[in-house]
Symmetry: D4
Subunit: 169 residues, 8 copies
């Protein structure tokens, strides 16, 4: 059985820089993905179609990034039983608090898994954690990644020691 | 040409008490309306259908009330060019701030007209104001209503004077 | 019967750049409008006069943009039964949350239709939606505009695909 | 020269309980006052008239209490050069944060003196402090009041000691 | 291969009523689970042990509910590569905003999937969606559940129509 | 009797640019003032002394600007019965919301008159309004100033019309 | 050398119930304390005196509880070099957010150690932790207390298991 | 008995500039310290080890700086009875409000002493105040430091007077 794919949906291509860490981590974990620009409000039929057909088209997880009144993750979740991960974008006057509330405060029955504002990297890792439940290789990659994270702390520690030496008596 | 109707959509029948002032004012202004329970997340196809067909079915304005991640008004607006008025409900831990942000912070191109949290009366009056643009009778009713509002202040003033007399020297 | 005009009121000419999308869309939809600088606090008589006479002067909708303790839309609404659309400006220390609350939390009886913070484009589109209720030509223009919005998503999708190709393996 | 009066304006008689401490303190300081119900949105002409004529009618200070999109103090301030004190009311879903922002965030040129949410007692004391600048008797009363405040702390201290004795070992 | 279990961790047994919908839905979906009271701050070693051993002990997903400075989900996530779902509790002065921010704003590398404040039902459904990726039977149950949700809207619609008939002319 | 002076207190000389409009308006209204840097926390004795002696030293109003946990206006108010106007500064991570709450939420008995965040101009105007209660010349100046404000709107209106002409068809 | 005492200051005796856990824990840890009602605004001289003399009077730590514009902890800190712990009270319209910001956002040079809103128990424990640095007996008591905390989790776990058994299949 | 050391823990070396005032003040007060980079989420075992062994390793106080869902101070506090001071960092979309809530809203039993957002200087001074309880020399240094603070106000006062002279008539 081939590995399930990830469907990544952005409200606009202008969200690409914020989502780049997500794409890079999906590649790092060798998780196949497809990405689309699709707006809950400008192209609602495309949004519905993508979500309705996601399972049949071989997708296992949906990641959706949106700002302001960020309806995209919730709209997708209303049309599928696949897990949907929402990434609130730090856009506009409210710096993403509006997007966070619009994504996380879903009513009972239709969940969206919210990650941090602009937290696209964690959307990819959460996806990997979900897909690893039935994929031992991916599971091993995640354990290695966690070790890398831990080791990166040592590196930062060394840099701190250097910086501390610059403080005069 | 018959008067256009108003389509009122509630996320749940439990929102009825909050919406009752809206229904009463629509009756007071003799504006015909239809009301439905419809959830953006639990019945997304019904939501899309209601909005897509609203114009043909003789509706002129849509009022939608929703709480939490209140996507309903925005989802309806994505499927119609009729004006959509959103009423944020004071539900849950955030007392309607989540619903307000989800309703008012719509992206460019797809507006929702937001009224106050639990402000269902104003949704009805705004609807009357919109429909009165091409309806002289309704326009007169609104002018009378505004006079009633002004006179209600006199009544309240009298009650204040009574209350003030209870303060001892 | 000639088309009704839109009365656009800005608290200051410094709000012009934020309101430019509104003016451009009104022009695109061929909706006649007049614009004034008028402050609820510095020129309250002019504000009252503009609102009191708006209907007789051929206006159908009022758009008002204001920041901080944004009283302008509410003050105008207190003097007219025309629909008033309020645009909260992202000014000052609170980034427009103050303006949003001052505009949207109107008391029962005197509605203002709030759009997003700095959401002047949507004020124009909402105006067009309102005026289209009795104007078939405008109604067609809005349907075309909605199709343009949908097509713009395809363009953005192509740009996303280009950007994705830049991510190394 | 007779003492100037205070004009106290409430958006509704339902705000009377919250404003009672203000009325009692004005009486305590023997400051003459008149109270009116007047809404910035329901009776805007009355609001303008009250403010425009306040100085000629012998008023020296205006106190205005309002909730939600609390425009009343700012609207009054736009029509007078008398000092206007605004009391934000804890009404509705936002518990008075909306009223506080609507009252305090006034634009440059037209100040309102904001006190705490539901802080009507302080509106009276601030009024007394303002009027005492040219009234030695009132000035003495304020000094006595400040001493009473200080002594009330002693009383509370005694009650604390009693309560502390109830804590078991 | 037996179905993986769900590890549900509560900061206190007093969170049981809020979590009851979660437990009931896990039962409804026939998903095996174990529940523990464990505090990130009072029993940090137990928290670490539960998370470190979760995979070996047959768990596939962790659900953690916490209020105030809700560290529990993040602490568990730091010790495992299993997906961790965080449920912010509406406790204390800040009504769960503190818990929401503490749960959702995780740093890059260690995700927690946040659901709504007090949204324990959605934690169960999200869990089912995750586990259904490799479980066709569970996948079918979710599709049925989604249909039940949709049908519940019809029932609510009927109740609305009854309530509407009570509004007098 | 000579005119009373205004005591302006800044937490730091770095607040000077924000306070410059206040100083300029006091000069414009020919109101004598003295300015001091004084911190509620770094120089609490000086703060107490300034407030305790303010009346005897010929001051009529105190203006105090402070940021963060802005205790300065409240501390001054605790030592005097002169009216104290507080200007919250937009400093630090919370952009002045902390200062606004610290200044406006004073307990019953000890008022501070809060103006907008960074609203130093209004602190000067409010001061003028207070002092004008017993000063006819100052009262006239304020009426003229209000007329200037109103006329400045005309100027801005002309600039708007110029800007509007730049929008292409 | 006798153990240093703790100075506990409440803005009002009405804060006693919220502070009771603090008093009980100080007794439990056998830490001597004195408690006073003292208001930063109503009795500023007493506040200054208490802080100025605290060290000489044998105090080692000051705990101060205050609500609204909670200046008390900061005012005390301005007059002493003893560590001051601030407890924000959940009073008034803002539920303690105002008190939290007023207490924690102290300017550089004059720290206050803030604990949670209504977190009086933690003020006592933090005090014990501070005093235990030079008190081995107290240090042992804290270690025992931490073990009790950990064991209380087991008790709660048992109660959870009972409650879980009540959920029907 | 040698002086106890301070353990300063940063979530990342990128927090060094924000923490520099803390390091400089610890040096100024001649308080020995050790600094580590350690993440509650990336290196949870190191965090636990540092806290568990802190007392034996001669530490008396722990300072921890963290941003976003700032769990580090609370996680350290769960493993030690030493006083833990938390410094919320102004990182990310929420400007440190998330970190503040995550640090200060600790549950009963496990306190963290929160200082201001980015308030690292005060973390050092609070540490000095705590350690000075059993160290007369350090106590003297703090009294001198407080005098320096007070004198710095005089310097700033002079600079203000210079700046004031630049305001034209």
């Amino acid at each position: 059985m081939p590995m399930k794919k990830v469907l990544v949906i952005l409200g606009s291509d202008s969200d690409f820089p914020m989502m780049e860490p997500c794409f890079k981590l999906l590649k790092k974990f060798s998780i196949p993905f497809e990405a689309h620009v699709c707006s809950a409000h400008r192209s609602p039929r495309k949004a519905a179609d993508l979500a309705v057909n996601a399972r049949e088209n071989g997708f296992g997880v949906i990641i959706a990034a949106a700002g302001l009144a960020a309806h995209l993750p919730g709209v997708l979740a209303s049309f599928t039983t696949l897990p949907v991960i929402g990434v609130p974008c730090k856009n506009g006057a409210l710096s993403g608090v509006d997007a966070l509330y619009s994504i996380v405060q879903m009513p009972s029955g239709v969940p969206v898994a919210a990650v941090a504002i602009d937290g696209s990297a964690n959307a990819a890792i959460l996806t990997a954690q979900i897909m690893a439940l039935s994929d031992e290789v991916l599971s091993e990659r995640l354990i290695l990644y966690k070790q890398e994270l831990e080791m990166s702390v040592d590196l930062r520690n060394e840099r701190l020691i250097e910086k501390l030496s610059t403080i005069g008596e």
